[in-house]
Subunit: 575 residues, 3 copies
């Protein structure tokens, strides 16, 4: 079990380092993430390296039996780089080119940035690939900078050629006949830059896909260099926030272990539910490989308004929640709270007040607890799966939908929380994965679905599975084109319904079975299914359809948690 | 009676076209608006035209007795154009030049755009001016793109020279002595670009006038080309939203019929009142010429939060409200709901679910109803007129007024709704129109008024008319300079009052007659008028002034609807 | 006692001027601020001057015994200037270069702007330095334009070299080791331009200091020119708003009298408390020199929603509040309400309605009252001082703190208002000033404190003073680096406490003494102090520490006014 956090010794004089390792030993820290933002110290000017301090840090940690999760520093190029290669600075949709002065200021498609990345990573790999302290490579940090520059435009076009093959196909799939957007040459295609009115949703979605892939190419380039010089596992840390720049299934297939940065913002049990959700996602993305918590807050959580201290013992309790769901490590941002800089008010395992503090005592207690844990048992196989698809998530971020507030992640999290409240384990799966081992599969507002995935779900039901599909699922294809003839498009047959109209609600409604729906309703026609709950006017609200040896449910409104639990109970998920 | 909607066959394979005309016939559609955003399909690269598909569309429609409202496609230049002529892309006030990727991305003052417009319109006119299906020309779409580029600066200066003749006059009228804005050459004058603090309101107002005229010049250029090749009526569709880029009286004088795009957003009776308001405006702007509804939603309305389905029968009921107020046609956006593109979630007459749907059945019912209507009787002459002036509207959008929330259109709509609630017909008139035929003229918060118009209103009262003026009227001249000596400036004499101070309210107040005012109050001194209602401290709130054989009323606060109705009753408008 | 306001005769024909002076005499106006935004009239094109109208204005005022506060017009360069020297236009953080069209559009570090400023100021000084009407020089207006252009970058680097001497020192003080911001050459340092994520707080703070100094250099350059040609006092007017671009102690040391522009926005007593606060600040900044109110509204106040008329007599009452706190003059913006321009809806001493108005009558009444006042007695020496430091104010505007809503000025104003409610006089002092004469010194949320100032406060207590420090004080050094080992850092010893953790509150809490705290709490360990009130869990909330012959109090939460008053009473400030 790994325990530790981001360690940034370059912010401190060397006499503090000795106190650091003493305190780390006291807290039983065994893994320190080093070098995440150290580029400007490692390469103070172009081609000039200063590794002496890092040599001493790694030796010191190694001498104290603390392993190192060694980072490549590419998430923040130094000021000298950004001045030398202004074309490598990211450009906002409105054309503003950003300047250094913060972090993450780079264009991942800029040749100069890629070249500089390769050089520093090669130098690091050559020097530390064989260092006994180096236990793991941490590539970059929280990938996510989106740019709209001409380098990106060029790379986007190449990516589009690869995806769509011909311009005719792209025009068809993007529905460019609408609003006179027909492209007669590839060169006319741009990133979604500031324009007069709403953008094309297919263009927006492909740009999200492209950005994820472009960042992944940068990751893979680093991984391949690191592999030449060592055999440590290589990974990067995902941001577990609502806005997600990465296709996590695709990335998780190539990282050696899945690592997440997770910051809760709900007090009490809500925080535990957030942890269960994030941990189950990470565990599921890992698909049997190890996963770990690479960052969490220290005995505090951050809400938009304030940093809220956790109650005594809560930090240990929350950390164990990750572990109980399979985390191979519990790390924090960061070891020692910074004196200065933009995150000087982030908590540290060693706070500003020093080791004589509640926070450090909780850290020591957590270290003691983790070290005393029995070897982890593999989690029991879950009987329930929930579909997760970043592409569907992005597609539902279309700025012009029948209602504002539609959010794939929120729908998924609501479904997961109901299971969590009833102590039901859950896996997340991709719509096209093999789901035959699950008793029940939940599909919460999966706006976009491919033909292949729809076939997968139908076959699952046919062969005995239980499928529970929520409102506004299955309506568009992978190019965000609406599937015609009635919603929910690709899932119509398996559900035995045909929806002719969406009817977002302005206030909650009570269904015939006493449960409550709000936000959304639909005109559901039965084409094989039977209604288990209806709206006040008798229209079906929740339906059930026997298919082969399985059952497919459709929930056409946003049920409150008891209402959703009732459907799960009817479907036999829980009693 | 025209019935139909925007028809975009280029978004669909040709076999769908045949279903389209079958369904159109079933719904008794007799007018289809074709080609609104078809530029990139008609001219796929510069100077290369592809009219084959449009030939087939027009022939097919004609063969099925469906007339065509043929659009010029200039509202959205194709991507090839915008890359070839980057100087024709619009520039925001902050200098950001917009990119293609949406619609309406053009600068109407860019020579390259104007030349390209002329070419495509000429080609269309030559090909379809004599086509038997072409019943009407629909120029452009929802004119309204505002740009701040150097082409606009040049054109603005020419427009200003024409309006103000000399720089001295402009400096005087714009009060450039304030804040050191004196212009010593025409070249120093800019569009209202991003600046350090508040802009000059006279510059803002003249820019609004200029933009309306610049867009109108583009319209007229197209109309003149179309006239060479056919004698169909030519028009364009006005957006009936709160922000209005056009001077509707000026435009309506040159279009062959007035056409409006109107989307309600209130449920129930509120939606009918909104329709009455929009229809009365359109009818009044037309001044005896026909007018029509060029776009409405289909059995649904759009609020900022959601698309709300209309109740059964409501779409027919609402459509008939336009007809009862004189609409020569009821059209929709759009015929068939798009599969993709930014407006794929706009309703269609044929929804995604297809013809077997409530929505299409309502469309058929509407078509049946409209076709069975007896010939329209001309509406009865209204006894009440309400002043409407876009220039006054724009002037009151000055960002620095004595209170936020002052809005000409809202004030006018409130007055109109009180009449509507009492089944009183109303016309809208320009302040300088001949109003002698009306028994009563309402003037709701007409901030800006010219000397000529003030004289017109005074003469009207003198000769027996009843004038009812609401707060914050008549205070500035056409250059937004305050009329000195006491408000309401140009209307002081006819009203027999002199206002020395505006006193916006923080909470509602009860007047002596039991009615309620809120938002605004004034210190009204009587200079001939008598008070019919007073504030709590005895100051006059509502006044009445006998002038010649007429009467002029002044309402110095924002009365609630019953209070305003009471004034109308006292003035003899209704009992 | 000066009485008057901004007078802009260039906005009016000359016949109005004669009415102006008649009305001024009637109102006993004796000081008119002339020429604030007259540059484009004084220098209509580069190097061409037109002083004739200003000669006539000054002669006319002088002939009527009205003195002139003559402004340099540099706050708004004319349009010809901004077109000739586009590099002198200010640039926003996002790179947008602003255009003329408003006011204050200049970059104070642009050489062309500085040269043009020197020329027009020299011309004015030569012409009017000896004019008998010229009683005072009013440099510029409300200094505050912040720019991010390359001129500013160059000047910022020079300023940084001067402050930090070496790049190593700057890197250390700015904690550039965080996020890879290490600078290897001065040229890499930029103004805080738009960047990907949060900016470095030390960079932000130094930029605020730099901007204040850069504006001050422009002031001093003008003052020195004016001094060559006359011996009138020279000043400029400070904006008394929440966002303050100037270091008022530094500026007040060099202006000949302190002048403030103060606009209240609270009704009733709240407005009087605001005036007491602003006046006490101005008086304190002046440190024995005269101070005056250079602008206030006229019988009205401006809230974000509306202009609110003051009740009868209230304008006189409010004006006297400034006088009772030592104002040597009561001036207004502006004499005659403008007909046009962006501030046409600002009140004037002569309103649009003319002299026959409540507003002008109140002005006359104020003039009469002020002229009848007995000679001002110097205010009694205050026994209480409150610390004020603009640098601490700026530092607390760090966008990433443990809670949003932390605001130095608000904390100071809350403390001042409690004193005001109890009729206690207060001075403001800088943390490093000699405070030995005060019985009590209040330190409200003084986030940043220097070692020197901390020593000053400790010595003050040691020698018998009473110090009352509120939460989140003393935590960072002048480079915004957290003082380690426990909060409140530099004040730990004198307070006898060590705070290990900040715990912002989500809802109010009741302390053991019945008072209420909200917004914030801390974990306070006693290291010499005793608790006088505790939180519900027994942790100290308010503490008292005897040091030498004095006492130091710590208030670790935001007490409501009665709670804060109770601490003051316990500390012997009031009974």
């Amino acid at each position: 079990m790994f325990f530790g956090g981001d360690y940034n010794p370059e912010q401190w004089p060397e006499d503090v380092w000795r106190e650091d390792v003493e305190l780390m030993r006291q807290a039983r820290v065994n893994l320190a993430t080093v070098g995440v933002f150290s580029w400007s110290r490692l390469e103070p000017s172009e081609g000039v390296y200063d590794f002496g301090w890092l040599d001493r840090v790694l030796d010191l940690l190694h001498d104290n039996d603390i392993q190192v999760n060694l980072a490549t520093p590419t998430a923040s190029p130094p000021p000298w780089f950004t001045l030398a290669y202004p074309d490598a600075m990211p450009v906002r949709a409105d054309g503003v080119r950003l300047a250094h002065g913060s972090r993450d200021t780079y264009c991942v498609n800029a040749p100069a940035y890629r070249a500089a990345s390769r050089r520093i990573v090669t130098a690091l790999a050559e020097r530390y690939g064989a260092h006994p302290a180096t236990a793991m490579w941490h590539v970059h940090n929280e990938y996510g900078t989106i740019c709209h520059c001409d380098h990106c435009a060029t790379a986007f076009r190449a990516w589009l050629r690869d995806r769509h093959k011909s311009l005719d196909a792209l025009n068809e799939r993007w529905t460019t006949a609408f609003w006179s957007q027909h492209y007669s040459s590839w060169e006319q295609i741009l990133p979604p830059r500031a324009t007069q009115y709403r953008a094309n949703p297919a263009q927006l979605l492909d740009y999200r896909r492209f950005c994820s892939d472009a960042l992944l190419a940068h990751y893979l380039e680093q991984r391949d260099i690191l592999r030449v010089h060592g055999d440590q596992p290589v990974t990067t840390n995902y941001v577990m926030a609502g806005w997600t720049p990465l296709d996590h299934w695709k990335w998780s297939a190539v990282v050696d272990l899945v690592a997440i940065d997770h910051y809760t913002d709900e007090p009490g049990d809500g925080g535990l539910a957030q942890i269960a959700f994030a941990a189950d996602l990470a565990r599921s993305w890992a698909r049997g490989k190890p996963w770990m918590l690479m960052e969490q807050g220290v005995a505090a959580m951050y809400t938009p308004e304030r940093t809220v201290a956790l109650e005594a013992g809560e930090h240990v309790r929350r950390s164990l929640e990750y572990v109980s769901r399979g985390a191979a490590g519990v790390l924090h941002f960061q070891w020692r709270a910074s004196r200065g800089g933009a995150e000087q008010w982030h908590q540290g395992m060693v706070p500003h007040a020093g080791a004589d503090s509640r926070v450090f005592r909780e850290v020591v207690e957590l270290g003691r607890t983790l070290s005393a844990l029995p070897p982890a048992r593999p989690p029991e196989a879950a009987e329930v799966a929930i579909l997760w698809d970043d592409e569907a998530h992005w597609a539902l971020q279309n700025p012009a939908l029948p209602a504002t507030g539609l959010d794939f992640r929120v729908s998924v999290e609501q479904a997961h929380r109901v299971l969590w409240q009833h102590d039901m384990a859950a896996d997340f799966v991709h719509p096209s994965h093999d789901i035959s081992s699950y008793r029940v599969v939940l599909v919460p507002s999966l706006y976009l679905i491919s033909d292949e995935a729809a076939t997968n779900l139908a076959g699952y039901v046919e062969r005995g599975g239980t499928l529970i599909v929520s409102y506004f699922s299955g309506v568009v294809d992978p190019d965000t084109r609406v599937r015609l003839g009635g919603y929910p498009g690709a899932l119509r047959d398996v559900l035995g319904v045909r929806v002719t109209e969406f009817q977002p609600l302005t206030s909650p409604v009570t269904l015939s079975d006493g449960t409550t729906g709000d936000f959304w309703s639909e005109t559901v026609l039965l084409t094989g299914a039977t209604a288990t709950a209806t709206y006040a006017d008798g229209r079906p609200a929740v339906t059930r359809h026997q298919v082969g040896s399985g059952t497919a449910w459709y929930v056409s409104t946003r049920l409150d948690p008891p209402g959703y639990a009732k459907v799960l109970a009817l479907a036999g998920v829980m009693c």
